[in-house]
Amino acid sequence: DTAVSQTPKYLVTQMGNDKSIKCEQNLGHDTMYWYKQDSKKFLKIMFSYNNKELIINETVPNRFSPKSPDKAHLNLHINSLELGDSAVYFCASSWGQGGADTQYFGPGTRLTVL
């Protein structure tokens, strides 16, 4: 039983393409997140949704657009991919939205832009 799942696990694409990453959690959590982890392992929050409502929107290029169709799903669409977008993208979820709750992470999507 996978708590937080992401698809695809690997994504290799050309510059300029548009791609989507999907995330689903079966923990019944109210809050979901997208993080970007660069090659130096630094985790950077991108977005956070609570009950389908956007609550954190960090300084991220507007080529990145999250979408939460329901509180169990949070997808990430990326337009016009650039070389600098290459990273591992993690989805996570938690009960609350205040940063005091344990966050449960998915396995990550390794994006390579050529």
């Binding site: 937080v4 130096k40 392992k41 630094f42 985790l43 950077k44 929050i45 956070s48 609550i55 954190i56 993690f90 996570a92 609350g96 939205q97 205040g98 940063g99 005091a100 344990t102 966050q103 449960y104 992470f105 998915g106 396995p107 990550g108």
Partner: protein, 112 residues
């Protein structure tokens, strides 16, 4: 200056050694302190969770928080090769809508 500072390592120690991992922070409003462990090609998972100051022990792991010095530590006793991973500290004020602030992660290697 980053809100949370953590030496990225790598830190390499022999099996059985006591490991000390540390983070410093600048925001005195932080109340919740966490250590996440991330194995290679996996997502981070919560290892230790501490509220405010003090120590917390769980098996071979001890988390310490010194709010007066704005310094947190994770100690691993009798380290094992299976402890080899990246350890990320994270902390928060805990306010509604306030995010978790992450350290850069320390890569730990335990040599058999």
């Amino acid at each position: 200056q980053k809100e949370v500072e953590q030496d990225p390592g790598p830190l390499s120690v022999p099996e059985g050694a006591i490991v000390s991992l540390n983070c410093t922070y600048s925001n005195s409003a932080f109340q919740y302190f966490m250590w996440y462990r991330q194995y290679s090609r996996k997502g981070p998972e919560l290892l230790m969770y501490t509220y405010s100051s003090g120590n917390k022990e769980d098996g071979r792991f001890t988390a310490q928080v010194d709010k007066s010095s704005k310094y947190i530590s994770l100690f691993i006793r009798d380290s094992q090769p299976s402890d080899s991973a990246t350890y990320l500290c994270a902390m928060s004020r805990g306010d509604s809508n306030y995010q978790l602030i992450w350290g850069a992660g320390t890569k730990l290697i335990i040599k058999p």
